[in-house]
Subunit: 607 residues, 2 copies
């Protein structure tokens, strides 16, 4: 794709390009350093162009349509926020990551974070200070929630309206580059969450320029993005160009596409296939590998199947079913939210197949849902026990650590990190952060704020609450969500952190845990609450057994005679004298499992 959408410096010239196929005239309005107006030229594809001397670098500008000024839909920088002018920036940067090669996706240990609440400062640069902590934890990939310019200074990021501009209050494009560069220096990949299914409700100037939206499909946020109707070529170039922009100018290693089930495209070449194709070309041209990850609420295996096999070519997708299956077992009250889950055989299926709902009737959806994902390699899926949605889209923004105690947290962490999936932690999860993660916004429009307030009152009306959900607009709601790093080594926080480190280390070193081939992961269900996760290395020499007790009661006997050559590797409960409750299996064909516990065994002598 050869386009230079936005305002670029090309051969020392400032080149402006904006798409507006149905407009006859557009003027470039430079507002600083001096006030100037230039008529632009339209090409046959509906792009307007103008080329100015390199001295305009750093200028601030609007596009003037029908007598009114608007920022650039493909603005790279909004120094004064969503309503101010755009700025032409110089994308040159002193990169020091020349030797960086992306990590194989199957080796990723992902850490999802929100820039605004990850540190007190809430900036890209402040996040750099914490990378050593993450590296020490064992994380090798961070996934940052969307950073496209949104209104005000506080937002989860899904209300962005300038997909090419890194949020000014986070430190803008320079800050983001510094973060990526620092990550790569420390061996950490960076996944960027991008939103190609809608634009935020405030500050969206796109409809003024072109038919970016279509009334043919409706999303929860209004008209859908126009991926398959008249003029969709320009829309596709805009979003595909955006994906390549982050890879090219920001050295981003992978993109996580938000809620792809709200991206409607019925054309012969789906936008996802088009994007996959363009990314493949870019990877080839640059000799590096970047990944596409989907958030998909479709349970459609085609999402992660190869293009050649009739799939859409995403490298991996989030596996919500694993979360739901595990969560309800760990925290039975969770059934209020996930009423179609709660059986141990569902968790077993989540481990062995992927989707739990693979065609059967789902009461929450009032229809049959999904198709089998059986046989798809485990590294096509990203699993988690918490993420911004599962924590944040609740009344109080409760983390799992606000709902259950340390034994359950250790069990949940083990269930995740020993799973045949790419694991993802949500910031603070590793040390049972006490701060909540709730919904917050910084919109200006009082009507919009009121609509959000009402929407949330309605959403949580069924819950047992007195005060109602926190005021999404208040600064306090936001600041209460900031991580309390200073607590992370204290008491149970520190104990959980150590447990996460131990598990991640085990995950990275045990051959059985690196095998994503389906036939080498087995689950033995012992009872309604007890199961054994059995992982086997590809050469079948090394095996790992994790025995889980998901009930609060001690479970007396579990027969494990077939594994009597296995020895205990670690367990989540220690006895009062510091020793393990669990014996090595060869000493005890029947073992006793304390409530909410896990014990890990292996046949591997070298560990």
């Amino acid at each position: 794709m050869e386009r230079n959408i936005g305002a670029n410096i090309i051969n020392d010239q400032c080149v402006f390009e904006v798409w507006a196929p149905e407009k006859e005239k557009i003027a470039l309005h430079i507002v600083s350093p001096a006030d100037e107006i230039f008529e632009m030229q339209k090409d046959v594809k509906g792009y307007f162009h103008i080329c100015l001397p390199g001295s305009y670098t750093g200028c601030r500008y609007y596009y003037n349509l029908d007598g009114k000024d608007y920022p650039d839909p493909a603005s790279f920088c909004q120094p004064d926020g969503v309503d101010g002018p755009s700025q032409l920036v110089d994308h040159r940067f002193e990169w020091t990551d020349d030797s960086w090669r992306n990590i194989p996706l199957s080796d990723y240990i992902i850490y999802e974070l929100h820039i605004g609440t990850f540190t007190d400062e809430g900036t890209f640069e402040a996040a750099i200070e914490r990378l050593d902590d993450l590296a020490a934890l064992g994380v090798n990939a961070i996934e940052i929630m969307p950073v496209a310019q949104f209104p005000g200074s506080r937002n989860w990021g899904y209300d962005g309206v300038f997909p090419y501009a890194a949020q000014n209050s986070y430190g803008g494009y320079i800050g983001l580059k510094k973060l990526v560069n620092a990550c790569h220096e420390k061996g950490i990949a960076l996944i960027l969450d991008v939103v190609y299914n809608h634009m935020g409700p405030e500050g969206n100037c796109l409809p003024m320029f072109a038919p970016y939206f279509t009334a043919k499909y409706r999303t929860p946020w209004g008209d859908a993005i126009n991926y398959d109707e008249e003029y969709s070529d320009g829309v596709r170039e805009y979003f595909c160009g955006n994906a390549l922009y982050w890879l090219k100018y920001f050295h981003i290693d992978a993109l996580r596409l938000d809620a792809i089930h709200q991206m409607y495209d019925f054309g012969a070449l789906h936008f996802w296939e088009y994007l996959r194709g363009e990314l493949d070309v870019f990877n080839l041209q640059t000799g590096k590998v970047r990944y596409l990850i989907a958030e998909s609420d479709l349970n459609n295996p085609k999402v992660v199947k190869d293009i050649e096999g009739g799939g859409y070519g995403f490298n991996a997708q989030w596996l919500d079913d694993f979360h739901h299956a595990l969560y309800v077992l760990i925290y039975p009250k969770g059934k209020d939210r996930y009423r179609d889950f709660g059986k141990i055989d569902q968790l077993a299926k989540a481990y062995t197949d992927g989707y739990v709902h693979s065609g059967q009737f789902v009461s929450f959806r009032k229809r049959k849902f999904g198709q089998p994902s059986v046989g798809l390699p485990g590294d096509r899926f990203i699993a988690f026990i918490q993420n911004h949605d599962q924590v944040g889209n609740t009344l109080k923004g409760d983390r799992l650590s606000n709902q259950v105690d340390l034994p359950q947290l250790k069990v949940a962490a083990s269930a995740l990190l020993l799973a045949p999936y790419i694991p993802m932690l949500f910031m603070g999860e590793e040390y049972a952060e006490d701060a909540p993660f709730t919904y917050f916004v910084d919109h200006k429009d009082p009507k919009l704020i009121e609509a959000i307030r009402e929407g949330r009152m309605k959403e949580f009306a069924h819950e047992n609450w007195q005060e109602g959900p926190a005021d999404a607009k208040s600064y306090e709601t936001f600041s209460r969500c900031k991580l309390q790093w200073e607590t992370r080594n204290d008491g149970k926080h520190g104990e959980l952190l150590d447990w996460y480190k131990t598990l991640i280390k085990l995950r990275k070193s045990h051959k059985a845990l690196k095998n994503f081939d389906r036939q080498y992961t087995r689950v033995h269900i012992i009872s309604d609450t007890v199961f054994i996760l059995h992982r086997i290395s590809k050469d079948e020499t090394e095996e790992l057994l994790a025995v889980f007790n998901l009930s609060g009661e001690e479970q007396k006997t579990v027969m494990l005679t077939q594994y009597n050559h296995f020895r205990l590797l670690l367990s989540s409960c220690e006895s009062s004298d510091g020793g393990h409750f669990y014996p090595n299996i060869f000493n005890a064909p029947s073992i006793s499992l304390p409530g909410y516990s896990v014990a890990v065994y292996t046949n591997c002598q070298s560990m």
Copy 2:
């Protein structure tokens, strides 16, 4: 799929079943022979049932919802039209087609017809009288435009509102069975056109019963059919059940699904895949083969690719691009309607690949369109030079024979019948029927009639016309469309009819014309108007060359030295003394092509 939607006789009992998942109560209201009310029982899937003695066979009934009577959405018979009661009918029939085996789809010579205008009487039974004529022409499959009960007695059929009820004014379910049975006796397959993308605007009672429609997607006719939202299971069963119903009770051989591009389904198991799976099971169970044919305006090869290869599994689809490419070359004024066509290399591509638009920008659509179909076997496509849409959706309902003269008609017929596709004729095409085929309806609602009138005024506003389009509601508009069988042997009518017969006979006998493998069809472009279609049999022993001159001018020299062992088989122009203009090639390395002509050569000595 084990459902008995509608009112069936099962084990000599009258079993009523209707789906209404959100209703609490439904009563069966029998209105004749006697007036009776019965409460129905609801099952967990939202179906209401009641079982009455066999003596209720033939009774007329409504379903009473919220105190109001409605016909059965799955009514098998509407004896008094769309507003009257439904009737429970006995589907037993004296079939005499036990020995009938469907014809291989690749052997189909299809004839599309509209029951209401195919004969003076406009009934299924009257159509039987014409089957011998069709068989004599060489047709072995008729495709009848939709027969689902529509309002009034005149309609193309796309306004049907009872998909399970054969139109009463055509002769209802008994008439249709008689027609199918007669077809099979004469070796003719029957393809039924079914509409699963919308319901007609008048008499549609479905929304009263269940969420058959969704506002998530919009079609030209309003909300789309709900194939993927809450409660879609019942909708899918209703339409899939409809498909199986025609096959099972009416011995239909193939279904042509109308405008599948307006069937929106974003679920993991697309309705098309679901239908394909159910049809495969039914075919296996019965040991017979029936086909699924799509009308698709997507140019997406997945439509006709196998399920295993990531496709949707239709056996074939209509190939509009072939029509457009040929039509504009035969009738240059056609470019007003098909402005993206008109080049001979597009026709060549239509012959060798299938889709002409396979990814490039199409000005009519204001976007890039399609994906390559290269390599897909030719028998995945149905080609035509006329059909009900191309003829009828015009100002005056002009057939090609109203637009061009006999020489062009003979050339067009040859271009179609020698093509590596399944050919389809539109009723009357074979003898240059003079009657038009225009749009007609028989709605009652004056507002709807006015809206249709206004819509048509607008649609054709750009055309040069004085009287405006014919009044769709008037009986005369309809009756003027009836075929004039009595003219078919006169003058040019008879000459064209003979030409069609000759071509179809050739098509059935020449081995090269039975080869749908892509690599054996070649097109040699000689000039802007002259090309050679070259077909080769699979064993490469038999070849056929058709030399086309698509201009009105004589084309003097065409070098064909490489084919000098070929001999003339037939040509569309005869000289005044009855001899052919064309010499055998070996006598004349350069030949002279009269305006609008075609000559067919072969290397095959036996013909």
